[in-house]
Symmetry: C2
């Protein structure tokens, strides 16, 4: 029996556990799930054998070490900041490790030891980061193998509500951490590269500098820039690319409306409002508008943002019940961002029957035989229900597959790594297709940033 | 002879030194000016006797302590962060101290010792802070002495160019630290109180939420909110006031144009641009606009901010030569704010003949005998030349007067303090009038924030 230890069985582990349990007979797997709260794991496992669930507090060294010693490979689904405790034990006891999180400096620093012990520490193998790395590198490598030269790479990912559950004016519901959505884009200007020019967008303009993206069968989306589009320039081998852009996808119109919150200061998380508990939603909005003894909050709001009464954006705010006198914030000394999050959760929380959706869009621009060409690749995954979500699927399946591939020696190059090598992405992308996680590639005319072809 | 030590003889010390030298015979003063660079002091002093200039490095304890021991009172005109070294010596050797700077926590912490030694440590006795405190408290105390109850206090100050030197479209030149002007309003939402409601303005809206202020003979100004309007609420005794607002004055139209820089991200000081040295002004502007192979930087700029070609705001940017291909930034790895500052200094540096101007506007709203009333008080001071500036006058004269008043026992209440008591402001405001620094008071109908009186 090969022994897999999964630490942390939260929201995104349903598919991960199901995949490994389904393979446990054929692949001879003994699975242990350790969590500080074992209830969720119990629900996910059901009546399955080949699995045991243990109480595991990652900060209690003894039980953690014992569980790790007793495994062949460790999957950490903990919040990213907790991985390092697990990673150190894995090095010490010579166990492979898999996470879906960004490589932290602390984890990176273990690389030499990991290599010396011939171990694989695979990170960023969820959806974003994860599937984006693998699917992008597969196309980039193929272009290069054919003698092409990359000149442009753009990539967008979005966690959205599925079309069949998309029933509000924002075309949006919270399918992941709402706080991250409210704070998205804060903390500095977005930086990217367009035709060899560095471009900067401040937070106040971020949601007005979108671009449109069409996905066949799913309609039109929009993308706004992530903070650092140059993060993977070097590791992807794109040092000479002229255009690099990483973005987040929303349905068209979301950003224009969201920008109103940004402009008014309602996404600010840097100060608290003293008497927030006793504010109504209307009072909260009014705190960002000038005082008037006569004008309504509605009119001040529309005037400040120059919103016409018959503009659809206005209906979006009405839908959120933003001007309600009676609904109370009820949060003590909360920041504007915390209050806004609460108001949005009234409207944007998934209903029981709702399904989520992950969308991804890559654009690859390249030169071959003196000609400029472009490939667009898109992926759409829709969730099954609120346990087997698209998010859990696209995060959990690659993690699970990488885990098995490491055990089976398909992935064997040692070191702290992310899934950008053929050894890693080839088997995983192939297998993901059998689960419906697949990219639709299309050759399109290369337009770059010259859409009118002038 | 009474011995006054002035540490730091920079830009704002011309009037301070002149005042004390003029009084040195009649008041029997021996003045010592200590600076790390004695040249400026030499120029200011000229052939005058009763004064000696010494080289003084505030961080060299020995010479600092010797100079302080050898004086009766110390005036520190150093940058605010250096006062503490001087202050500690003053406590130790039992000398009074005067500064025009905000009271830091470290200075505040000396209060008990200062009182125990019967010393006066007077701070914030320049113009803003300084003249604003004194002139406001004089009116507030008078209203209260007559049985009135304060319900509103608004105060605005601006350092501007004098009307006779006002020859650009922005009606603005740098009369003080340009960096502070570029960064003004950053670092968090502005907070103030309007009719008992807390109001918050994020940086991105700050320059669009101005109010107009008219000063007889000087025309119309505008004011935008300072970050914390509630700072002096308690010390002014305004705990029950319904409206509190502190702002900065500019000529009308400045803020609307400045807001364009804010929106584009050109005032950001949080990151550096790698190749800034080799950028033209035009390249710099273009870094904040989308790439286009065809559209001009000018059109992209106007489109992004929705500026019509015949809008006066557009001419303001042309006047700055913002779109020049040939003028180079020439600053290595500079922040956007640093680059913008350089561009502005081309246009907004005072010419040799230019004069500056300090303007101040207070609004006092109060209730008396069941009636609501309002007093508006305004002050305008115009500089004489680039040495005897309005800034140096309004900072230096109150500092000098307070120094003499302390020596003469007119100001005697001990402690670390700011000029808000009658003992302090009465003689100083009276004397300032003889120098042309005076307020014009006017009774106006109380409108509060109900200008249409609905």
């Amino acid at each position: 029996m090969r022994k897999i230890l999964i630490i942390g069985a939260g929201k995104s582990s349903s598919y991960l556990i199901k995949y490994l349990l389904d393979k446990s007979e054929s692949e001879n797997l003994q699975i242990t799930i350790g969590d500080i709260d074992v209830e969720n794991a119990k629900k996910l496992v059901g009546e399955h054998t080949n699995v045991n669930i243990i109480h595991l507090d990652v900060f209690k060294a003894e039980s953690r070490t014992e569980a790790i010693q007793n495994s062949d490979i460790v999957v950490s689904m903990l919040p990213a900041r907790f991985h390092i405790e697990v990673a150190k034990d894995c090095v010490k006891h010579k166990k492979h490790m898999v996470t879906a999180s960004y490589v932290s400096k602390k984890i990176e620093a273990l690389d030499a030891e990991v290599k010396a012990n011939n171990l694989v520490f695979m990170n960023e193998i969820g959806v974003d980061p994860g599937i984006d790395h693998m699917s992008a590198m597969q196309v980039i490598d193929r272009i290069r193998d054919h003698g092409g030269k990359m000149i442009m790479f753009e990539t967008f990912t979005g966690g959205l509500v599925a079309p069949e559950s998309d029933d509000n004016l924002w075309n949006y519901k919270f399918t992941w951490n709402p706080r991250n959505v409210v704070l998205a884009g804060q903390g500095g200007a977005a930086k990217f590269l367009q035709e060899n020019q560095f471009k900067y967008i401040p937070y106040g303009r971020l949601f007005r500098r979108t671009e449109f993206l069409d996905i066949e069968g799913y309609g039109r989306f929009e993308g706004y820039a992530n903070r650092d589009s140059l993060k993977y320039q070097h590791v992807y081998g794109l040092d000479h690319a002229k255009t690099l852009y990483r973005g987040t996808m929303r349905r068209v119109g979301f950003s224009r409306a969201w920008n109103v919150f940004v402009q008014l200061g309602m996404t600010d998380d840097s100060y608290t409002i003293d008497d927030s508990a006793n504010m109504s939603y209307r009072d909260f909005v009014n705190a960002f508008l000038p005082y008037s003894p006569t004008d309504s909050v509605e009119l001040k709001f529309r005037h400040a943002l120059k919103i016409d009464q018959d503009d659809i954006v206005w209906d979006k705010f009405l839908e959120l019940d933003l001007f309600n006198h009676d609904k109370m914030v009820g949060l003590d000394k909360a920041t504007p961002a915390e209050i806004l999050q609460k108001i949005l959760m009234d409207s944007w929380t998934l209903d029981k029957e709702d399904k989520d959706m992950i969308v991804m869009y890559h654009k690859f621009g390249y030169e071959i035989e003196g000609e400029k060409r472009q490939i667009d690749a898109t992926m759409v995954v829709v969730g099954e229900d609120q346990t087997y979500t698209a998010m859990a699927k696209t995060v959990g399946l690659p993690v699970a597959m990488a885990t098995l591939d490491i055990l089976n020696g398909k992935i064997k190059t040692p070191g702290v790594q992310i899934p950008i090598s053929k050894e890693v992405y080839t088997p995983i992308l192939e297998e993901l297709e059998t689960y419906g996680v697949k990219f639709n590639e299309k050759k399109v005319p290369y337009l770059g940033y010259n859409p009118l072809n002038l």
